[in-house]
């Protein structure tokens, strides 16, 4: 369980806030989607949770303990992070990328390789075809699968995914979204998923938090958001896919 209590974050010493007084509870085992446009603060929340940055005010607790009671290293090893820019290490093979977290905790090479193969299979990449390749030789979708495998390597309780499929074409994105649903059913991880795509948010999220200009406008299930939008912003946001659908139908 992750609890944010009145958390604010300023990057310029307090003249402006990227995140403003956010309180939020993410339950064990759920997929929580942070939905918002760029600059809304959703990625900031993710980076705060993994202590890549520190809050200006407020506290964050993971599994009942204040974040600052964990060492950064131990914390991050319990939180698989899939980065927006993918962030695979270009000088390491696919296998080395996947198993890098295991290397950090001193697991011997043969075990690492075996685990890397199992993880590649889990994300539906043929191990023999991929272990020795380098990230530069993979397609965007393949890279993203490797990134997911890397995030899962240390068997973390939490999976933090920052717009992982933002840069992919629609078809690849759909297949990876299905992949996330499958992994979630299989592994039961707590997932915090950041996206600007409303459809993706509704598809993946057990609950969705709508971010706007550093504030959390509303937190709820998709049903709650659809039926009882708390603010005009949420109402407009939810209306957009329907408008797009109508426009599309009119064209036909």
């Amino acid at each position: 369980m992750i609890v944010l209590d009145h958390v604010s974050k300023s990057f310029d010493g307090g003249s402006s806030f990227a995140l403003h007084d956010v309180s939020l509870t993410i339950e064990q085992g759920e997929t929580f989607v942070l939905l918002g446009s760029s600059g809304s603060g959703k990625t900031t929340i993710l980076r705060l949770i993994s202590r890549l940055i520190e809050p200006t005010a407020g506290t964050i607790a993971v599994d009942g303990r204040d974040l600052r009671d964990y060492t950064e290293i131990a914390l991050r090893r319990n939180m698989g992070y899939v980065f927006q820019g993918i962030g695979l290490f270009p000088h390491m093979t696919v296998a080395d990328n996947v198993a890098v977290g295991l290397r950090l905790v001193g697991e011997p090479a043969p075990q690492r390789e075996a685990k890397a193969r199992a993880l590649l299979e889990l994300v539906e990449l043929e191990p023999d075809a991929f272990v020795h390749r380098f990230p530069g030789e993979l397609s965007g979708g393949q890279q993203q699968r490797v990134a997911v495998a890397r995030a899962l390597a240390t068997d973390p309780d939490y999976l933090l995914m920052d717009e992982p499929f933002g840069a992919l074409d629609a078809l690849t994105r759909e297949s990876l979204q299905a992949e996330v649903l499958r992994l979630k059913a299989k592994l039961g991880k707590t997932i915090v998923f950041v996206t600007h795509d409303i459809v993706e948010a509704f598809l993946l999220g057990d609950r969705i938090g709508v971010c706007n200009e550093g504030r959390l406008e509303q937190v709820g299930t998709r049903r709650e958001l659809l039926r009882q939008p708390a603010t005009d912003f949420v109402r407009a946001l939810i209306a957009r896919p329907l408008q797009q659908l109508q426009a599309f139908q009119e064209l036909q």
């Binding site: 991050r76 980065f83 962030g87 290490f89 000088h91 290397r103």
Partner: protein
Amino acid sequence: MSGLDHVLAVIEANGVELWLRTGQHIMLTGVSTLIAICIGIPLGVFAAKHARAERPLLAGVGILQTVPSLAMLALLLAMLQQIGALPAIIALTLYALLPIVRNTVTGLRGIAPDIREAARGVGMTAAQQLRLVELPLALPVIVAGVRTAAVVGVGIATLSAFIGAGGLGQFINRGLALSNTDLILLGAIPSALLALAVDGAIAAFQWGIESRRRVREPAGIWAARMATVLPALILVIGAIAFWSTTGGGSVRRAAEHGGPGAGGTVRIGAKNFTENLLLAEMIAQLLEARTDLRIERRYGLGGTMIAHNALRDGAIDLYVEYTGTALTAILRAPSMSDPEAVYDHVSEAYAERFDLVWLTPFRINNAYALAVRRAMARERAWTTISDLAREAKSLRAGFTPEFSERPDGYPGLAAVYGLAFGRVYDLEAALMYRALAEGEVDVISAYATDGRIEALQLLLLDDDRHFFPPYFAVPVVRAGLLARHPEIGTVIAPLSNSLDDKIMRALNWAVDGEKRNPRKVATEFLRAKKLLPAVTESTLHGAP
């Protein structure tokens, strides 16, 4: 003899030494580059991580780079108080730092932010981020910096011969001193080839590490691995060349470098011009033949101050200095014209200040003099410097850098005669005589005993205001050594009566003009004067 035959003959005559000098050259460059890598990469990492340290650090190593190479060598010589490999390696290391530090910073800064964040995000400690991600990704840029450093180092290392560190510069140095183009090329061409080889080897290394990320077929992997070994291969060749010819001797000497003349050894220095070298060689051969002392030759020292500091600090035990030079350039005393007064003054001051002893002077007055073309002197009716001074404004002068600076050189001359030449060019001593003869300049700062004055139809102008002090050649020796081995003085003394200006000019010409080997010229002279028996040990190792 065809051109190729000539080249082969030169190489054959100097084969062993060429191998040795190449080895020394590789060792000097290689060791200093490796040290610079060990210092430069951590400095670069530090600068990249601490934004505030970056500017001062890069400025610091940048300033080191701007110090002229010879000045750097001379400074280190004075600071370390020794000649040889150590100051050379330190100087080369300091020069190599800038490209390595700068490229390390650039390489680390160039890593994409999302890769950095990913490294933190997967739970790497700062040290792991550096070791597993940042340095491997910056490596190609860092290696490019090492490549620059090593190639530049090969070039600068040619200068380390001036402070007795050996290397291919030794040939260039000697070639300049003896006006011997073959020797200059024997140093210059191999060092240029070496620079190309180093550049190529490190380029191959770069290709090797980069293709590890692309190549998967066994042949390609093998080629990439071989490529990364090439720089090490050059180092190994250098080490073999070095140790096979010296047994590591000069390294040991540089490392031990104990007290002056330890263990009955006399280290004889010489400045890098023919006469000084010939006199040093005569002394060396006499001591070898007549005493049990072991002689080490440390020739080619790059100037008066380098030789003097080396003697004062015990890096050498003896060299031939000139009274006037000691008076004005070293002691900075006002010029005097009485030869005996000058000798008394310098020998007293040296004993008092440096614990150095001036032995019996040779009868050679290698005074500075202004030389002009004989034909031009006749045409313009010049016989004295005063005659020349009247037309100085329209004349081009070629002076050695030392003459341009020394109080007993151009500055003093200009004051005493009230003259100022239209243009003054800095010329290497070995080149200025020919430059004058060929009309490139109109007047030079000649040495009175140089054989080229007569051979090239030059004329020395009369110093009618007695500005130039006398420059009698005198062996100067460390007092401690002389006290332990007084025979040094008695063995050298007979040389004094055997030499005069005319004989010296002829000997100088034999080397400068006839391109004869200075060792042989010295041996023949000593034999002719019956100072050496007809066949001595020195004939056995007389020919290099």
